[in-house]
């Protein structure tokens, strides 16, 4: 038996000694690279109870316990650094998705502030969010509005206070910052779309770039998403509803973030669950194609359209509601009562 250790390969002899050995070069970087490499076939890991430290000293690789500790520590740190730096390619996209959410939230908060602030000086402006920010950044106070602008007339007869001097400078600068945020947001969106189209063409084709990217981000990577069952894909992002369901207090959620897909959002309510299931199934297939073959396959999309068509045709009318109140919360009380034996799970 030949076993591999971090400092060399050994053949163990009688009662714990080492019969033969071949040591690796005693160099931190070389040893770290050996640790990161996949193991050669035919090599065994040390068996339980094998005394690595004693073996290293016996072979003369190190001369003392302290030297063993020091070298092993340095090698492990180096190896861990190597492993971390070889991160997966979709890490950048996951960060982009998170950044998109953060920036949207921040831009909205600041836009609301701008609306309040600018409202002191021009309450009749009637604009909000991005258009308001662009307007304020462009003109500043009411007197700066160009006669060609539609709001010129309103500005002339406004009941707002005068915006001058330092105040004008501040408000205008604040609006300018908000505009940059919206610019950055659209750049991030473009980045997500292009990188999704190249790294996951099928997923983009079925789910759309942004929903696809969200799914990847929540799953923690394209490959992990590919390993999820489609029933999981269907409810990713509906965590609260799912746990409520598992505790036995609610029906199962029909859709997580795939709800934002126009096929589901625009569907009739009684068809939504069915369409969500079909869409999730196709998303799963699409992601697997992206991970394992990488080529665009149009038949998925046509298959999905056909399936949705048949769901619509088979369920033209809403199901009859029972007279106790139909879909209301109360009707689930008995149906979804917690099962004591399985702890609420089915």
């Amino acid at each position: 038996m030949r076993i591999i250790t971090w400092f060399g390969t050994l053949t163990p002899g009688e009662n714990g000694s080492v019969a033969e050995w071949e040591l690796f070069p005693k160099d931190t970087d070389a040893l770290a690279r050996m640790l990161v490499q996949p193991k050669e076939p035919g090599m065994d890991m040390p068996p339980a109870g094998f005394e690595l430290r004693a073996a290293a000293i016996e072979c003369g690789f190190v001369t003392s316990n302290d030297e063993y500790n020091e070298l092993l520590r340095d090698v492990s740190i180096r190896a861990a650094k190597y492993r971390i730096s070889s991160g997966t390619p979709d890490m950048g996209m996951i960060q982009a998705v998170e950044a998109l959410d953060d920036i949207s939230e921040t831009a909205n908060t600041l836009s609301e502030r701008l609306a309040e602030w600018y409202g002191l000086y021009f309450p009749e402006v009637g604009l909000s969010s991005e258009t308001l920010a662009r307007f304020v950044a462009k003109y500043g106070s009411r007197s700066g509005i160009s006669p060609d602008d539609d709001l010129y007339g309103k500005a002339a007869s406004s009941m707002g206070a005068e915006l001058t001097g330092l105040d004008e400078e501040l408000v205008k600068g604040f609006a300018g910052n908000i505009c940059t945020m919206y610019d950055t947001r659209s750049r991030i969106e473009e980045y997500i779309v292009t990188s999704m189209e190249s790294s996951a063409p099928n997923l983009t084709n079925i789910a759309g770039a942004l929903i696809g990217a969200r799914l990847v981000s929540m799953a923690g990577g394209l490959e992990r998403l590919a390993r999820f069952p489609s029933s999981t894909v269907q409810v990713i992002g509906a965590n609260r509803a799912l746990f409520k369901h598992l505790r036995g207090r609610a029906p199962s959620p029909k859709h997580g973030i795939i709800f934002n897909h126009p096929h589901i959002r625009n569907a009739l309510w009684w068809q939504r669950g069915k369409i969500a299931r079909a869409l999730a199934a196709k998303i799963s297939l699409a992601v697997r194609m992206d991970v394992y073959s990488g080529e665009l396959n149009e038949s998925l999309k046509t298959g999905l359209d056909k399936k949705i068509e048949s769901i619509r045709a088979a369920n033209p009318k809403p199901p009859k509601r029972d007279n106790k109140g139909g879909r209301g919360k109360g009707s689930h009380k008995n149906k979804y009562k917690k099962n004591e034996k399985t702890g609420g799970r089915k």
């Binding site: 890991m45 430290r53 650094k81 971390i84």
Partner: protein
């Protein structure tokens, strides 16, 4: 107000705010995660908050902590190294093998290893001890704090390979990661049963106590391999 040693390398410091746990700082002058440093009689101590560390909570709950100055410790679930740094304080003449699965948290852990001489970082899945058996030697203590549904199985797999015959296992069981909805008491009972009889290597549970109020729904366990 000299510090009282409650277990090897673990001290109780009494000051105006009452009693606090602390360990002797192995790298004086550096605070790892923002904890307070207290100098007493030429020694520097790092305050150890039981709300941030399962092991510290175990000490306060009067567990017998079987870690000595020269212990070799296998630490599973090292995360960013909050508790690992204190274990490293406790074993100035020993070594800590810190296993962590997430590359993101490993980043922080490596920063810690860079300044401390006795921590060996291992980026690996504690479910598969065969993948780091060429690095880790036999150890005196395994400390495990992993939020995984098969916590007791992980403990058994690692103990089988790495724990000395008379070595100890310190385990923190998190009920919520085994079953999010079941009653924690039931989960604990089942995990203790699994540790004692569920696998080919049986443990003898020497002590088990809940870690509330420091950590809700956690059970601390001290166990030994049954010979």
């Amino acid at each position: 107000m000299s510090p009282k040693e409650v277990s090897a390398g673990i001290f109780e410091i009494t000051n105006r705010g009452g009693k606090q746990l602390a360990t002797k700082n192995l790298v004086p002058g550096t605070s790892v995660y923002g904890e307070k440093l207290v100098g007493i009689e030429d020694c520097e101590y790092r305050i150890w908050n039981p709300k941030r560390s399962k092991l510290a909570a175990m000490v306060i709950k009067k567990f017998n902590v079987p870690i000595a100055q020269d212990s070799k410790v296998l630490y599973l679930g090292a995360a960013s190294g909050t508790t690992v740094s204190h274990v490293s304080d406790i074993v100035p003449d020993g070594i800590v093998y810190a296993v962590e699965f997430s590359p993101r948290t490993m980043r922080d852990l490596i920063g810690l290893c860079d300044v401390r001489p006795n921590i060996v970082p291992i980026l690996a899945d504690a479910n598969r001890p065969q993948l780091y058996a060429h690095i880790v030697e036999e150890v005196d203590v395994i400390f495990q704090d992993v939020a995984q549904p098969n916590q007791s199985e992980i403990a058994v797999l690692n103990a089988k390979r790495f724990l000395k015959r008379d070595g100890n296992l310190l385990l923190s069981i998190k009920a919520r990661s085994i079953d999010t909805v079941a009653n924690p008491k039931k989960v604990f009972k089942e995990e203790v049963r699994k540790l004692e009889h569920g696998f080919d290597v049986g443990f003898k549970v020497l002590d088990s106590r809940e870690l509330a109020p420091f950590h809700e729904d956690h059970l601390g366990i001290l166990a030994r391999v049954r010979n």
